[in-house]
C-alpha cells in the first residue's frame, strides 16, 4: 500500500475554509452514494444471514454435494465434497471479511495518525527517528511482514489483527506527517501557540481537523487492501481455522474442485470484488467532497 501513501500525500490540502465551503456546495457525490449503498446492502445481508437463508453454513448434505447454482433450494449451489450451501457460506463468511476490513483499518488509522501528528508537529529528532522507522517498514512488502509476524505468533484471527495493526500504521504516519508539516507552518497554529495552548490541544483541536480528511480518504483504499490481505491469509490457510466460513478459505477449498464446480471458488471472489469496489467508490467520493481540487 506504499503507492497509495505517496499518491495521497502528494495532493496538497487546501485551507480549512475552502474545505468547509466546498462541503456545503457539493454534498452529493455519485461515487460516495453508490459505494455507500452497495456497502450497506452487503453488510446488512451478512448481518441478516440467519433470516436470508435457512441453511447453517457448516451443515453438510453429502447427497446434494456439488449442486449447481439455481438448483432447488440452493440459489448459489452447494460445495463439494460436503454439500454445504454456498449462499449461506458467503453471507456468514462476509462477517469475518468485513470485520477484518473495518477492525484492522480503524486501529491503523488511529495509531498512524497519532504518530504522524507527533512527528510532523514536533519535528527535529522525534520526527527523524519516527520517519526512519517508517522507512524501514516500507522496505518490507506489507504482505510478507504480516506473514512473518503471523508465522511467529501462530495463525489465528487475533494474531492476524495484531500483525496488520503492527505494520499498517506506517502509511498513515507518513501521510499525516506530511500534511501536518504544512499545516503547522500556518498562521492560525502560530496564533494558537502564542495564546499558550498546550501541544496536545493544538494537535487535537487545531491540526487534526485539517489533516484527518486525507487519512479518511486513504483509509478506504487501505480497507480494500486489508480485506484482500485477510482473504489472502485465509486462502493460504493462515487465517480463521475451518469450518468457520471465510471468503478466502472458501476460494482455497473450491480450487480443489474447480474443474467440476466452478462456482464454488468463483462466487466468494465476486463478493470480495463487490466489497472492494464499494470501499473504493466511497474513497473516491470522499476525495471529491473533502479535497479542494479534483
Amino acid at each position: 500500500m506504499a503507492i497509495e501513501a505517496i499518491d495521497s500525500a502528494s495532493v496538497p490540502l487546501g485551507t480549512v475554509g475552502q474545505t468547509t465551503r466546498r462541503r456545503k456546495r457539493r454534498v452529493r457525490s455519485w461515487p460516495l452514494l453508490i459505494g455507500g449503498i452497495m456497502l450497506v446492502l452487503i453488510a446488512a445481508a451478512c448481518l441478516a444471514a440467519p433470516w436470508l437463508t435457512s441453511y447453517d453454513p457448516s451443515f453438510q448434505d453429502i447427497n446434494n454435494a456439488g449442486a449447481p447454482p439455481f438448483s432447488a433450494g440452493h440459489l448459489f449451489g452447494t460445495d463439494a465434497p460436503f454439500g454445504r450451501d454456498t449462499l449461506s457460506r458467503i453471507l456468514y463468511g462476509g462477517r469475518i471479511d468485513l470485520l477484518i476490513g473495518i477492525g484492522a483499518t480503524t486501529v491503523t488509522v488511529i495509531v498512524g495518525t497519532t504518530v504522524g501528528l507527533i512527528a510532523g508537529y514536533f519535528g527535529g529528532k522525534i520526527d527523524g527517528i519516527l520517519m526512519r522507522i517508517v522507512d524501514v517498514f516500507f522496505a518490507f512488502p506489507f504482505l510478507v511482514l504480516v506473514l512473518a509476524i503471523i508465522a511467529m505468533l501462530g495463525p489465528s484471527l487475533l494474531n492476524m489483527f495484531i500483525a496488520i495493526w503492527a505494520v499498517g500504521w506506517v502509511s498513515y504516519a507518513r501521510i499525516i506527517r506530511g500534511e501536518t508539516l504544512v499545516v503547522t507552518k500556518q498562521e492560525f497554529i502560530l496564533a494558537a501557540r502564542t495564546l499558550g495552548y498546550s501541544h496536545r490541544r493544538i494537535m487535537i483541536r487545531h491540526i487534526l481537523p485539517s489533516v484527518i480528511s486525507v487519512a479518511l480518504i486513504f483509509s478506504m483504499a487501505d480497507a480494500v487492501g486489508n480485506i484482500l490481505l485477510g482473504a489472502a491469509l485465509g486462502y493460504l490457510g493462515l487465517g480463521v481455522p475451518p469450518p468457520t466460513p471465510e471468503w478466502g478459505s472458501m476460494i482455497a477449498d473450491g480450487q480443489t474442485y474447480m474443474v467440476t464446480q466452478w462456482w464454488v471458488p468463483t462466487l466468494p471472489g465476486i463478493a470480495i470484488v463487490l466489497v472492494g469496489i464499494s470501499f473504493s467508490l466511497i474513497g473516491d467520493g470522499l476525495a471529491d467532497i473533502l479535497r479542494p481540487q479534483g
Binding site: D135, V144, A151, A231, A232, Y235, L238, G248, I277
Partner: protein
Amino acid sequence: MGRFGFVVPRLIQMVPVAIGITIITFFLIHLIPGDPVAALLGNHYSATSAHALRAALGLDKPLWNQYLIFLGNLFHGNLGDSIYYEEPVRDLIFSRVEPTIWLVAYAAVLAAVISVPLGMLAALKRNSVIDQAIRAFFLVALAMPAFWVGIILVLIFSIHFTIFPVSGFGNDVPSHIKDLFLPALTIALSFGAILIRSLRNSTLSVLRADYVDTARAKGLPNRVILGRHVLRNALLSTVTIFGVNIAFLMGATVIVENVFALGGIGQLLVSAIQQRDYAVVQGITLLIAFFVIGINLLTDVAYGLLDPRVQQ
C-alpha cells in the same frame, strides 16, 4: 565525483534502512511465544542440541549482544538451518530462487506492456470514454484478490481452453515463458492497474509543464510535442513508479506462486509457516526486504543516468 556521484548520498541513506531491516527480522524470532530454542529445533529438540543452539545464538547474553551475533552470522552468509529440510536456509533459498526471479521479471514486463500505453492514453484523452473505461478497469482490478484472479484465469485458459498448464514452472526457457504466462498475467493485472494510475498522473503533470507550453508556442506539431517532449519525460517517471511499487510486486508474487505451485521462494515461505520452520521464514523475510531496497537503489541510479538533471 563523476557520473555516478549522485549515487553516493543514496547509498548512505540506505544504511540506516538496511540496519533497520536486520533489527526487525532479528526481533521476529523473539515474537515466538515460549522458548525460541525449542521452537527453532522442533522435533530435533534435545538437551545437548538446545544447549548448542542457545550458545550459538547467544541467547544467554543480553539482547544487543544477540543482535551482534545475528549480524555477524549474516555477514558470513549464515541464515541458520531449516528444521524441516535439514539444510542451511541459505542453500534452501538459493535452490528455490529461480522461479521467483522469472515470475517477478515476467510480471514486471507484462505490467509495463499493459500500463505504459494505457496510462498515457488515459492522460492524453482525459475525461473521455477511454479514460473512464481505464479508470473503471483500475477500480475493479484493485478490488480483485490476486489468488482469485489466478483461479479464474486457470478456469478459462487452462480448463476450458487448455492453452496453458494449471501449475508448474517448466524445464527450459520456452516452457518457462509459456507456463509462467498466467501467473505473470495475474500479477500484472493488479500491478499494472497501479502503474496505470501513477502514469496517468505523471503524464498529466508533464502535459502541464512549461516546456510543453513552449513547444506549443513555437508551433511544433502535436505529434512532435507528444513524441519528443511528453512521451520521453513520462516514460522517465515510469522508472521511479516501478521502484516505488516493487514491494507490492513482491507481495503479489508470494501469493501467486502458491496458486500455481511454482516452487519458488513465496511457496517456500508459506510452507515454512505451516511447518513452523522459523529460520526459513526469517531468512526469506530478510532477503525480500533487501531485494526491495536493492531494486529501489537500482531504479534511482537508472533514473539518474536517464535524466541528467538529477546528476547535478
